[in-house]
């Protein structure tokens, strides 16, 4: 009964509630808007039978890279709805859209070193591999694994050439410093993290 569908702006209210309930860190609302207004195809929610949002994936395309790559910014599934394969479905939906809509060649994500459940999901179920270790990536000083997965790339990439400027998939440079990618910004508590169960 869980419908994996593209997120709408109104879903934000419940997505942030999910974030609160699942993740120790939270991100600013404009960061969410930056994602959904730039790459609406990449945001998916898991909606339960009674219309409640029980999980979501927030993803984006890298704008400042010559390679065409996607990035999973945040993944969350409510504790009541864990062990149902929702995280896998959400991730697959985002990856498929990256591949098919934007022709992404690979996708990356960060995960806490201590988050075994998420690490297992990424490596065993979804086929991600450790690319690097980012020391003290999280606000609380914990290291992150920088993980990557190869995608099929440009085969069915249809329309990115109509966008202006930037890297392979970008529409425009990021707005208003809304993207807390750097460590210092992460320390300011705006960085989301990937977590699943």
């Amino acid at each position: 009964m869980v419908c994996i569908r593209k997120a709408t702006i109104d879903d934000l209210l419940e997505m942030q509630a999910c974030n609160l309930l699942c993740l120790p860190e939270n991100y600013q609302m404009k960061y969410f808007f930056y994602h959904i207004l730039s790459w609406p195809h990449l945001l998916h929610v898991a909606e339960d039978y009674n219309g409640r949002i029980v999980g979501y994936v927030l993803a984006k395309m890298e704008e400042e890279s010559s390679e065409c790559k996607g990035h999973i910014t945040s993944l969350a599934v409510l504790r009541t709805h864990r062990k149902l394969g929702l995280a896998t479905k959400l991730m697959t939906a985002a990856q498929t859209a990256m591949e098919q809509v934007f022709g992404a060649e690979y996708v990356s994500l960060h995960v806490r070193k201590s988050n075994r459940a998420a690490f297992n999901l990424y490596t065993e179920t979804l086929g991600y591999k450790i690319h690097d270790v980012e020391a003290k990536y999280y606000a609380d000083g914990e290291d992150a694994y920088d993980m990557r997965k190869q995608l099929k790339g440009k085969q069915s990439h249809h329309h990115h050439h109509h966008h202006h400027g930037g890297g392979c998939c970008s529409g425009d440079p990021r707005p208003m410093g809304a993207r807390p990618e750097s460590k210092s910004e992460a320390k300011a508590g705006t960085k989301a993290e990937s977590k699943t169960g």
């Binding site: 419908c3 109104d10 404009k30 609406p40 149902l84 201590s114 069915s156 329309h159 202006h164 707005p175």
Partner: protein, 876 residues
Amino acid sequence: MLAEGLLKKHVASHSLHEPEALIVYISILEQQARYGDALEILSGKLGSLLIIEVDKLRIQGRLLARSGDYATGADIYEKILELCPDDWECFLHYLGCLLEDGSSWSNGVHNDPINPQKSVDCKVSQLPDEVVHIYYPYILYVVCIFCCTCILLADLFMTFYADFDFCNLDVQFHSRISTSLAFVKKLQADTSDDFIRCPYLAILEIERRKQLHGKGNDDDIVEALMLYFLKFGHLASFSSDVEAFLQVLSPDKKTEFLAKLMKTLDSPATVPTKALGQSITIFKIQELTGNLYKLPVLELESCAVQMVKMYCKSLPLSKDLDPQESMHGEELLSMVCNVLVQLFWRTRHLGYFIEAIMVLEFGLTIRRYIWQYKILLLHLYSHLGVISLAYEWYKSLDMKNILMETVSHHILPQMLASPLWGDLNNLLKDYLKFMDDHFRESADLTFLAYRHRNYSKVIEFVQFKERLQRSNQYLVARVETSVLQLKQKADNIEEEEDVLKNLNSGVHFVELSNEIGSKTLTFNEDFHSRPWWTPTTEKNYLLGPFEGLSYCPKENLTKEREENVRRVVEKKSLLPRMIYLSIHSASASLKESVEENGSKSGSKISSELKFLLEHHAKMLGYSLSDAVEVVMGVSSGVKSFEAFGSDEIDWINFAVFLNAWNLNSHEPLQPDRDQCGRGIWHVVDTLLVKYISEKIKSMESLVCSPRVDLPILVQLVTEPLAWHGLVIQSCVRSSLPSGKKKKKGGSMDQHSSLVLNGVRDSIQSLCDILKEVAKWIRGQIDRPEDESVENILSSLRKKEQDEGPGRVFHVLESLIPSINEAEHGGRICQELKTWSALDVARKIVTGDSTLFSQFLNICESKIKSFQALKQQIAQI
């Protein structure tokens, strides 16, 4: 049409290149109900822009259904379900197509994602129409039969509807239901994934539809529920999955279902986590059906003991989990808390309430991230009157960003009536800053969506922004921020006047009060996480007597809330202006008598204040003269305080402003009494003194019963008493022999001296009552800590076999010695070593002290201000 024309032109010259452009094109056609054209475009060359197959199929399905081509629509939805067998929404659309029920594609958009409408609600509400439609001829026939004069007419109707083919309808329904069943069974067979619930829950939905059409029965639903339980009963989502289906069962059938569930406990699942999950589900279903709360006190108590024992037993299952991971059986302690609060409501034994607090504090000692426990604790401490601890837990939830809009309802209303002004100020300031920042950044974000050619998101985003701009909470926060500033500066009239100046003398808020009736408000608060005893900010069952509430539904009370919010904003936004006018009315009364001929501005103030008083009285449900009667009646003791109902603060505010108006008015308050221009000081004083003393008396004993009167006492002191203090300050200032206010010849006329006598008496009685309050507060603060701690803990010291509060607590306490690293893991062991019920009791007492100290500061500042006035007035 214009948009379509422009797009067509664009397509002809440049074609379309972005999926978003195609979606906009289709939506323009859809809005004109040109579904066929839209379908044609979708299946043509442009359709290839939608790369993800199911996205395209979903649009196709919707267009077909809306065009009335249900048969093809059903085929499309079948295709989607084959690709995504867990897509529940799609299944509902599929069923809708099969049964030709177009309700889910109607144009009426349900715009409340926070409180989504359950599908069962709309189906059931739609049923009467169907029934009326199908049985229309029969109903008419029966009506006609009963009307003797119309027998002929009745026969005529029967002839007219003779062709109505009920049998055919039956057959059609039956055949389509069979089709759906066969398809769902096929889906079940094709999906090997154990997580996919949709094809199994679909059976329940089909049974429900059968029942709604009078073709099914409760037994089939119970059987389907049991099958679903056997497959998914161990999942945390089970009870919310089946909630809607339970609602259609009769009470007897619900009991029967429960009995069947209980029977499964005889042979529990072999995997321990699965067995635990099933047991928890059974408790949840008992809670959901209301059966749990029908149990007698003793049995209910035993049930809580059973739950907490199960929790203790399940702890070893979580020994290897990360602290961030939720533990097995965590829901049990929330349920235990619910039961204990229910027991408190029934018996009024505070021990149960304290026990509920201990249970959750215990749970948070083991794992400190459980937000459900924190929210429950926040409400328990609020009800107990220890708002400082409630706020601590709220802060630990780290609510930020949009959550301030959706989640701050848990604490904001209580904080508004608390003496924790600094914390309240932060809460309001952070919230308003977030909202205002968002509105400021909106233009850039809209542009961002345009740049990425995400046109449909532009529309969504603008609508979302409007939704936030119309938020009821945003409005309330703006008004309350100003009221808070006025409260904080009320002891110094000059500083208060600065605040009022920044508020444009309250003029804008009066406009807001006048417009509030026509404003569209949005309610974005998420009430799902509120505990059963306070489903909305306005409701708290525990304040009233036990109602035998067997099922505590989270009703959708938006309409009721909307009226309440409008009323509150309407009243509160008059306050700044009324305070401003009262200050000026008081000074004008004395100046006028000094300046002999009176002033033009004085009469303008008087008439505006009278108008606002009339408005205020109307909001309290009275005319001005009747409201004056009520105030006089209560003050003289002819009427009891109950005449004020729950609007006591508003009534006393009314009396304060009435006095201020009367000072400068040439109209008598009551026709038979001559009270022109001298005020009704004694009436206001009596009301304040009587009411405050009554509240102190009701709270004599600390934590023996929740201090629900404390917020009222705080409000009395910080609102009506404070506003009255400003009227007094204004009178004294105008009477002082300084500068322009210097009096002619130094002698005082009779009017002024009468007014000043009233002021003198008022200062004295307010000073006295404030000293009483301060004394009472000191009494609370100075109470020996150990004595208070002992009071709290003594209600819990029971042996397990005894009845009454303490049994659950005993189970938890006896767990401690048996905790060991091998069985429970190092982390749990370590955390539990820090558990101390004594510390929790001490925390409650300290929290109480913090709260009282803040309140004492407020009172002492007021006493000081009144004493200074006393000295000043002595010099006049």
